[in-house]
């Protein structure tokens, strides 16, 4: 099966064609090695860092997964993050460890900026 994608590694925006032949991934249309890497990762297991916020009793903090997680798990992961109940969270706190067995932790990236009243 052939898949077309635009490489996002630089402004050139190469139009890549990615093809899986047996277990080998063939990339064409790229002008450099970065395009090949990008296409391979997008085809085998596209991953993304997920960021969101959590409403605690003390205010709204921001969080992220400390590693990229599989794209297909993002929908489920955001729900889990939404279910977190906490009185107060601080910078660096691990909110969920090893979320959905991805090996990534959800960590707090920002304290509450504003005083909060529910």
């Amino acid at each position: 099966m052939k898949t077309n994608m635009i490489c996002i590694m630089c402004p050139l925006g190469c139009e890549l064609t990615v093809e899986k032949v047996d277990d080998e991934i063939k990339v064409s249309g790229n002008n450099c090695i970065r395009g090949e890497k990008y296409a391979t990762s997008e085809l085998t297991e596209p991953v993304r860092v997920l960021t969101s916020v959590i409403i605690t009793k003390n205010g709204v903090v921001s969080v992220k997964t400390d590693k990229p997680i599989p794209k297909k798990k993002i929908e489920e992961a955001i729900k889990l993050i939404g279910n977190v109940k906490a009185d107060k969270l601080n910078f660096g706190d691990v909110v969920i460890s090893n979320i959905l067995n991805t090996g990534a932790n959800v960590v707090v990236t920002r304290d509450a900026v504003l005083d909060f009243k529910e």
């Binding site: 635009i6 996002i8 630089c10 993304r48 860092v49 709204v60 921001s62 990236t109 900026v113 504003l114």
Partner: protein, 411 residues
């Protein structure tokens, strides 16, 4: 109050300038109108910051956090939060500030302008139709969602494909809204392509080029829009008019440097910011400018690098160690829209010349020459209007005005 260097604005730009100024032992003050340092970074909770400067991928708040820590470790920096500058008296080198302590004057030897930018509004782009609730600039929406944890609509249309708009398309989708489309009046996006890919394509949000909102509909709350295509001259093509229902419209239609406090300085019509030389010095010897106040950046790392230079030169000036020599102009070919700096002070050292282009180009050499002699040459695979380009060179070779060109390398 008296400082060597007074910095207006405590976002990424002001923080970087302060650190470099402090390192040179200049007594430095940051004036910030918000309750915390970090500026817009605090609400940019997505990742992708710091790859160049910290060599790791950070979220906006983390990038701000790291800089706040650096600032705390500096001995020569004072910070005034919740403090607003009401006036700059350039003749007497005095800044008037307002805070809970009242109205006070601060004397400076060097002043750094790092007030960032503001978003263009519905009024600026002459968005016609009614004026109901539900029309937000992308930054305001981002603040309400990421700082307050509140939603501003369930069924959203985004006008303009600037980066914050793209980022908000993903954020709102993840938080439960339906983002129906991003409409861009131009044929290309002004946002980064990685954002189009990760924020729109990942969620199957259509990006409609040469398309704009014709009319807002709704008396109390936004009920929908009439939209359609525009021709080359941005005229609305009435026969393409269609209706789309929505309850919120987000505008990501450009940013404007906040030059209100210094409206008498010469303003560049392309960037809407001031002009600077390679010391980041404005036409006033003791006034420096950097960050989005000067020109809108797409990467915070570039803001940081530029602002370190502003902070350094501001400190040197305050300490009497900066000499303003003869300046040479930076000229450029037509594809280049502007350069920062726009002049270069005669002397020694490295210059990082930053610029944008009018349209996409591929496989070209960036060439800087002076009196027909090539000073720097750099091959780039491509350039886009939405992505800033840089070329560095040693300025000791410069003997006159320099010229920047983009020359295709393809036969």
């Amino acid at each position: 109050m008296q400082y060597d260097v007074v910095i207006i604005g405590g976002g990424p730009s002001g923080m970087a300038a302060a650190i470099e100024s402090s390192k040179l032992n200049a007594k430095t003050l940051i004036i910030e109108r918000n309750e915390t340092l970090g500026g817009i970074l605090n609400q940019c909770i997505h990742n992708g910051f710091g790859l160049h400067y910290f060599k790791e991928e950070l979220t906006g708040p983390e990038y701000a956090f790291k800089f706040r820590e650096l600032i705390l470790n500096e001995k020569n920096i004072d910070v005034k939060l919740n403090t607003f500058v009401t006036n700059i008296d350039k003749e007497n080198n005095v800044v008037t500030i307002k805070s809970s302590n009242g109205v006070e004057n601060v004397k400076y030897k060097s002043l750094v302008l790092s007030m960032g930018c503001r978003e263009r509004t519905a009024g600026n782009i002459l968005l016609t139709g009614t004026r109901p609730v539900g029309i937000y600039t992308a930054g305001t929406a981002q603040k309400l969602v990421n700082i307050y944890g509140k939603m501003i609509g369930k069924n959203v249309v985004i006008l303009g494909s600037g980066d914050i708009g793209l980022i908000m398309a993903r954020r709102l989708t993840l938080e439960g809204a339906k983002v129906q489309a991003v409409m861009e009046i131009n044929k290309t996006s002004s946002g980064l392509r990685r954002n189009i890919s990760q924020c729109l394509d990942d969620f199957n949000i259509p990006l409609m080029y040469s398309t704009t909102i014709f009319e807002v509909v709704g008396e109390k709350r936004v009920e929908g829009i009439y939209y359609g295509q525009v021709d080359e001259n941005y005229n609305k093509l009435e026969d393409t008019r269609k209706f789309m229902s929505c309850d919120a419209i987000i505008l990501s239609v450009g940013l404007v440097p906040e030059t209100d406090l210094v409206s008498d300085l010469k303003i560049n019509r392309v960037t809407n910011g001031t002009y600077v030389n390679d010391y980041m010095q404005t036409e006033y010897d003791n006034i420096f400018a950097c960050g989005n106040f000067l020109h809108v950046h797409d990467l915070v790392d570039n803001v940081t690098m530029e602002s370190l230079q502003a902070g350094k030169c501001a400190a040197l000036n305050a300490l009497g160690k900066l000499e303003r020599n003869k300046e040479f102009n930076v000229l450029h070919s037509d594809i280049v829209t502007y350069t920062i700096p726009s002049t270069i002070v005669k002397g020694e050292g490295k210059v990082d010349l930053k610029f944008r282009v009018r349209k996409k180009f591929v496989k070209s050499n960036l060439i800087v020459s002076c009196n027909d002699k090539i000073i720097a040459k750099k091959f780039v695979m491509a350039g886009l209007p939405g992505e800033m380009l840089t070329i560095s060179f040693d300025k000791s070779e410069i003997t006159g005005d320099i010229n920047l060109e983009v020359k295709s390398n393809e036969n």
